[in-house]
Structure formats: C-alpha cells, structure tokens
Symmetry: C2
Subunit: 335 residues, 2 copies
DNA sequence: CTGAAAGCGCTAACAG
DNA sequence: CTGTTAGCGCTTTCAG
C-alpha cells in the first residue's frame, strides 16, 4: 500500500499536522524539521492522496469536458488546448463523449457531479434547459466552447460564425466569383448551421449579388459524407457555379472528392473554400483554402476562463476569437 | 452545497448506515424504509459523493490514459474505444498528453498515482525502466495499447507490425509489383519502426525479390510532413519504382501530395499503400488503399482487459489484433 | 514552532 | 431490519 502522511510523521518523529504544513508550504516549522520530514517523504516514496485531499478541500483539481460526437479532428484540437492549459495549471481532465443522445449527456453530467469535478467545459453542443438546470444545481463554473447560449448566462468562447462565413464568401467575391454556392450543415443547428448561411447571404447582398436559395444545399451534419452527397446535388440544382463555400472542412474535402469523381477540376473548374482549418485542410489535394478557427487556442482560452472563474470566484467575459482565411490552392482568382 | 448522506438520513428518519445500504443495494432494510429513503433522496436531489467513496473504497472508478503526441487521429480513434468501454463499465477516463519528453510522462504518472486511478492505459510509447518502476510501485493494473514491451511483463494489445507490413507488401506483390519502395517511420522505434521494415524485407525475400536498401527511406516520424519530404527522396535514389509502402496513413497521404506536386499520377504511375486506416485514408484523393489496424476495437479491447484485471485481480493475456487490407484506389494491378 | 483532535462524506463491522 | 461507531487520509482550528 501507499504510505500515508501518518507514516511520514512517524518516521520523522513529528505530528501529521506538521507534515501537512510542510506539504502545503504553510508557515510554522523550523528548517530542521522540514529537512527531516522531506527526507522521510523521499525515503518512503510518499505521495499525497489526492482523494483524501479532495474530500476535505472540496476541490478535486479535475475538470470535465463534454464532447458530442463531432468530427474527432475538431474535438481533438480543442482537447489538446484544454489539456495543455489544465495540466499547466494543475488540473486533470476527464473526457466524456456524449454522442448524439442527450441521455448520455445527462448521465455524464450526473457522473461529473458525483466525482465533484471543479468545473465543466461544454463543447459544440447546444445548451438545453435540462442541461442548464443540472449545471446550475452543481454550482460550479461552466464554459461553453465552440458553442454559446442566448438563453442562459454562460460564458463562451467561439468564433463569430456569421461574420466568419461572411468573410469566407467575401473572399470568394473579391477573387472575382459571383456565382457562389454553399453546402451548409444542419440548418436547424442554431449555432453552426443557420448563422453561416446568414453570413453567406449577407456577403452576397452587400455586394449586390442576389441571393438564390437554389444555390444553397443543406445537409444533416458537417461530415465528409455530407460533402460527398451534397456537391452533386448542388451542382444539379444550380448551374454554372464558379465557387462553393462549404460549412466545414470535412464537407469541403467531401466536395473535393465528389468533384474528383465527377471529373471536375478544383480549382480550375470550381473553387472551394472550407471552414475550420483542420489538419485535413492542409493534407487535401489540392490543399484546401479555408476559413480558420483557432481551435487549439479556443481550447486554451476556454480552459483559462474556467480556471480563472475557479480561482477568483468571479464571472468572466465571453470571448469571440478571431478567424482568418488560410489561402491554399482551391480557390482560383477569376479575371 | 450538495446534500450529504446525513441529510438524507435525517429527512428519512433513519441512520446513515441504512441509507448507505440502500444506495449500495446491500440487504438489510424493509421495503417501506427503502421507499422513504428513496423519496428523501429524490427530494433533496442527493448524489453520492464519489470522492468520499473513493477514499474509503480505495477505488476511484477512474482510469488514466497516456497518449504521446502521436497523430491526433490515431489517438482519438483509440480514445473513443477506451471511453466507450470505460463508461459502459462505470469508469471515467483522465487523458494525459505526454508529448515527446519523458519528463511530462513521469509527471503524469505521479499525478495519476496521487489521484489514485484504478488503472492505466499506456499507449504508443515505448516502456522504459523509469516508467516501469513507478508503475510497479503504484501496484495497479496497466495495459499497453498499440505498443508492447519485451522487457517487462505488461499485457498489451496491438497488431503484429511485422506481419502486417508483410501483408501489405505481399498484397503489392500479388498485384504484380516487383519494384517496391518503402517510406519508413523512425527506424530507432523498435515497435512501429523496425518491425515494419522487417516485414517489408521478408515479404520481398519470400517471393525471391532481392532487398535493396536504396529502396527504403526512413523518416523521423510518421507524419504527413514526413511523407511530403521523403517521397521525392525515395524516388530519386530508387528508379522505376511502381509501388511504395508507407509506414502510416499520414505518410501515405503526404506521399500522395508530393506525387501530385511532382505530376506523378497515383495509381497510374505509382501505387501507394498506407498503414492504419484512419479516416483520412478514406478521404484522400484518390481514396487510399491501406493496411487497417482496428484502432477503435483495440481501444475497446485494451480497456476490457484493464477492467477485467481490476475486477478479477487476475492477469490477462495480451491480444494480437487482426489486421486487414482495405482496398481502395491507390494500388493499380500490374498486368 | 508543534501537536491533539475534529471532521470532510462515506462504508463496514458490530451490536442489538 | 436498523443504528452506532470506527476509520479512509488529509487539513485545520485551537491549545500549548
């Protein structure tokens, strides 16, 4: 069995209180005792029991992160940022894959409560009343990552989706494209679906290009398969498109594949711009021009916010992260 | 604050022992008290404190998983399998990104010990004496995932790398290729580096094709960038190759990109086979033929093993998982 | 500067 | 069937 603080105390001939003080760098002991204790610790290979500490401190130094079954590349960029900061600031992270069904999300929320995590990062999924209620009950800091809620006062970190989509489409227009299609994600998704369509629409309108609903096709998700399925559909219902804006990189790469099958050359015959800037954007053939979300930084920022709330007890401000265009080779300038 | 078992006991007019029994489904109470207690629990919204439980039971229902900074796609497939089984069997998972430096691995190991996790899954990285010693000290089950150790008696789950590489190259030969190159990962990697080269060599020799070291080029890692850099080098030092075996899908996709830049058509001018069967293999243009490792199943299997050890206290047997060839479109049969 | 003792929330004998 | 009690390993008053 692991040695306990008691063993250390006995070995060093002091009380456990003294050992505890030394462990926690509190004042109240002579240099000599400190040395003796430190030596006992080393000799025994003593490691404090975080469980016992958690019980009394009411802090577990652990946070929970909920991921829906979104593209794993998307999630893992976020996770990396989260884990880096959490570790740096002395916290562990418990990952929870909630998949689609809310049931599992509820189970996880309950679990995280039982484990007494210090805070929760809720990613990508929409916040529901049910979730919010239990979160409120738990009475711990929560931050929304790559999602947000109008209804509930939870701090978030995300990109401005509408604005980002606007930028992507504006970029296309600047490059001389006028006949631009869009492959959207789920239109019922108030967070990543609709706003991007609105950004697309707005960009068009602002340049005096009429919006034509035939030019946007909506899929159920944001996956590769959606891109594969939707590009042909889009091309059929909207003629002579010179460019398409895909609502995610996975969709864009799917579109790239579909185009390849159709014998349509990208970017010679058709320009494509994606959204996210995942690793696959870089790896695509040809490399995908895309609207970049700083996923890794978002993960870091969200975690910073969470831990700040934890430490200060204060609310923090939401952060809208900057997006940018990463120019690669799927958009051809039109003369 | 969260209500405690005491509150429940008071409200239901019973002792905390009775509540505890009911919570743990142990015998020893009437139906009536049970109902009363259950109602009190519901009314208070009581949730047992897993930290307190962990302290007394010496079980935290939590496992730790260590990932080096391997391709995130690779890790996240594993993680998904791990998390699914862990959750199904009532455990949470703490993720630890160890990056490259062993220092961080040691810190994590120590952390996981302090948190008193019930078991550890150690992925991809080579087991060192230093790690093994602390792991042994911790005295909890450990399983190696996508790695193995000759020196230390730790159960593992992985694919037979040499055999898998042998299969991949044999496949190429069956398709009529004789002049086959290889882009290897780090040759100093005893687990994923060398064995795959040996499999390549063996497959050649078994068909009477002489091995020529000019035909294999080794990179430092298994990343996309390595593929990009190494293909041109390989093509320069080995003429008239008709096919290449890449030691990972990322390398293969990098090779695909490099070929595209060079104006080499795949598979018309050059066939390529990858290794892993990540999602990107499917998404590549053209879709990548590859040697599939069942990553998700491996994650599941490893976790099953770990939890079995935990529950039974018995050692478990290592598992060599089946590999297979996923035929897509980067290998052209030679007449 | 140091120790004794209470108690975090829970489980597990041991009594009754 | 039910309650009392002693800890699990630690932090933290409160005395000295």
């Amino acid at each position: 069995m692991n040695p306990t603080i008691k063993d250390v105390a006995k070995k060093a001939n002091v009380s456990i209180a003294t050992v505890s003080r030394i462990l926690n760098k509190q004042p109240g002991y002579s240099v000599k005792t400190k040395e003796r204790v430190l030596e006992a610790i080393k000799e025994l290979g003593y490691q404090p029991n975080a469980v016992a500490r958690g019980l009394i401190n009411k802090r577990t130094q652990t946070i929970g992160v909920l991921f829906p079954d979104v593209s794993s590349m998307f999630s893992s960029d976020l996770l990396k940022g989260i884990e880096d900061i959490a570790h740096e600031r002395g916290h562990s992270v418990i990952v929870c894959h909630t998949t689609l069904s809310g049931q599992r999300t509820m189970k996880y929320l309950q679990l995280l409560n039982e484990k007494r995590v210090d805070g929760i990062i809720f990613t990508s999924e929409a916040m529901t009343e049910e979730y919010y209620n239990v979160l409120k009950e738990m009475n711990i800091p929560v931050v929304l990552l790559a999602t947000q809620s109008y209804r509930y006062p939870l701090p978030y970190v995300k990109v401005d989706d509408k604005h980002a989509a606007y930028s992507a489409v504006s970029y296309l227009i600047q490059k001389g494209h006028h006949n631009i299609g869009m492959i959207s994600g789920d239109i019922n998704d108030q967070l990543a679906g609709l706003p991007r369509i609105e950004g697309y629409k707005q960009a068009l309108l602002d340049r005096g290009i009429p919006f034509d609903e035939k030019k946007v096709v909506v899929s159920r998700g944001f996956r590769y398969e959606d891109g594969i399925a939707q590009l042909p559909k889009l091309l059929k219902q909207a003629k002579d498109l010179t460019a398409v804006f895909a609502a995610s990189d996975e969709i864009a790469v799917g579109a790239l594949s579909a185009a390849y099958e159709l014998g349509i050359r990208v970017p010679e015959d058709l320009s494509i711009i994606g959204y996210d800037n995942l690793k696959i954007a870089e790896m695509a053939i040809p490399p995908l021009t895309t609207l970049a979300q700083p996923l890794y930084e978002m993960g870091k920022a969200g975690t910073e916010m969470l831990l700040d709330m934890l430490e200060t007890g204060q609310a923090v401000e939401s952060r809208v992260m900057p997006h940018s265009i990463v120019e690669r080779r799927t958009v051809k300038p039109l003369s």
